[in-house]
Amino acid sequence: MATVVPLAEAVAELVRDGDSVAMEGFTHLIPYAAGHEIIRQGRRDLTLIRMTPDLVYDQLIGMGCARRLVFSWGGNPGVGSLHRFRDAVQNRWPAPLEIEEHSHAGIANAYVAGASGLPFAVLRGYRGTDLPSRTANIRPITCPFTGEELTAVPAINPDVAIVHAQRADRSGNVQLWGITGVQKEAVLAARRSLVTVEEIVEELEPRPGAVVLPGWAITRVSAAPGGSHPSYSAGYSVRDNAFYQAWDEISRDRETFLAWMGDHVLDRSATASEAGR
């Protein structure tokens, strides 16, 4: 049964230097508060896994937490580049960043294989592209029944998965709804898991279309109200598109970026809700 603990305690216990960490949430429910806590605790040499690195990994990369990035689309949606990601790849700042690059379909299937206890996943994908020549973890495979040539990717089994959800009960059962992305797969594929939630409630009222993650399948749950900002939590907040646009300027320059992170993330006097802003 998942234990409900404060966020700083959960991150200190679950995330270690050198770990592979998957923080998922497809545009929606991105676990920013947990990402900021990892930055404050100064974790290093992480392998960061995420379909869309988004601003949260731009921040982790720019603050020097990452050694390697496994991803499928590294942009600021509708705005442009992730400048800290680009600076790391193009100029090795603040440190060299190894990359393992996929398509969305490839990573989604790798999580499914991880959650399913399979060594790899099969898909119709990547054929004819230059991705297999750059990513060793994309290989051709022949169907044993039809002889058709398809593509295989190895399972992703992160050391830790971190996702954000709308709510949990005191036993650590978690409920999330709206765009649910690959969060369920990431949690079930991981060795350890942390779910941050908007609120802890006495009882989870059933909700049509919601994904429920039973507490016994999760390691730790932490309350982090507002913890998906500038992403959003349907029913609690809306996506802060103005912040995504503002990030383009904040992150373009190294010094401006570091100053912003100092004021808004590293400064512990910032409240939990401000930490996401």
Partner: protein, 254 residues
Amino acid sequence: MTVSPAGSYTSDEMMTVAAARRLRSGSCFVGIGLPSVAANLARRTHAPDLVLIYESGTVGAKPSRPPLSIGDGELAETADAVVSVPEIFNYWLQPGRIDVGFLGAAQIDRFGNINTTVIGPYEDPGVRLPGAGGAPEIAASCREVTVIVRQSPRAFVDRVDFVTSVGFGSGPGDRERLGLRGSGPRTVITDLGVLEPDPATCELVLTHLHPGVTLEAARAATGWELAAASGLRETEPPTAQELAALRGLTGERQ
């Protein structure tokens, strides 16, 4: 600004309107940016029943304005169904259920191959672009693909620096050889005109020029020797209704 009976309009507006006109009924897997604006314009004007599908898992989304991201809340709130990301790619895209894929590009080559990964060498890129996202499988599996991209010598290159998504590979027969089930890029809409693959060679040739654009200008904006189709035509300028709908969509965008 070009002037039509409907008033003046920009080359980007002409491009978006021309792209929207290609969509009728059926389903469309929508890429981010220009494709999303065009697909939403089609649904607002002549194609109200068009099913918009975003890779966030929102099937049949009916946003009141083009979303900034492919996962804005309004997409989920207005969708017929919201499915997981593995499901959208495995159950919906991969089997070839979706009629049209609407994609953008940083670079596109004469065979309609798309690069959204790097400009320059992969190990030491001049510009690191966002990467593949959903595009490789959209380009492989939708019944057909429309690409929307501004035309310039930097974007329209003889050979892309990196094949992120396959058009016709290196020519006729490549899609079949690779087992790609969709028919590939049937239309490339730019701010200057429209390109379509030559049926015999698969090379993109110019089939339409937008009003006021010359063949010379289109050729100067293309990094290969651009051929014009024998029946080269002029695009109908945007109607007053199309322009009003488009400006209503983009003006409201926050």
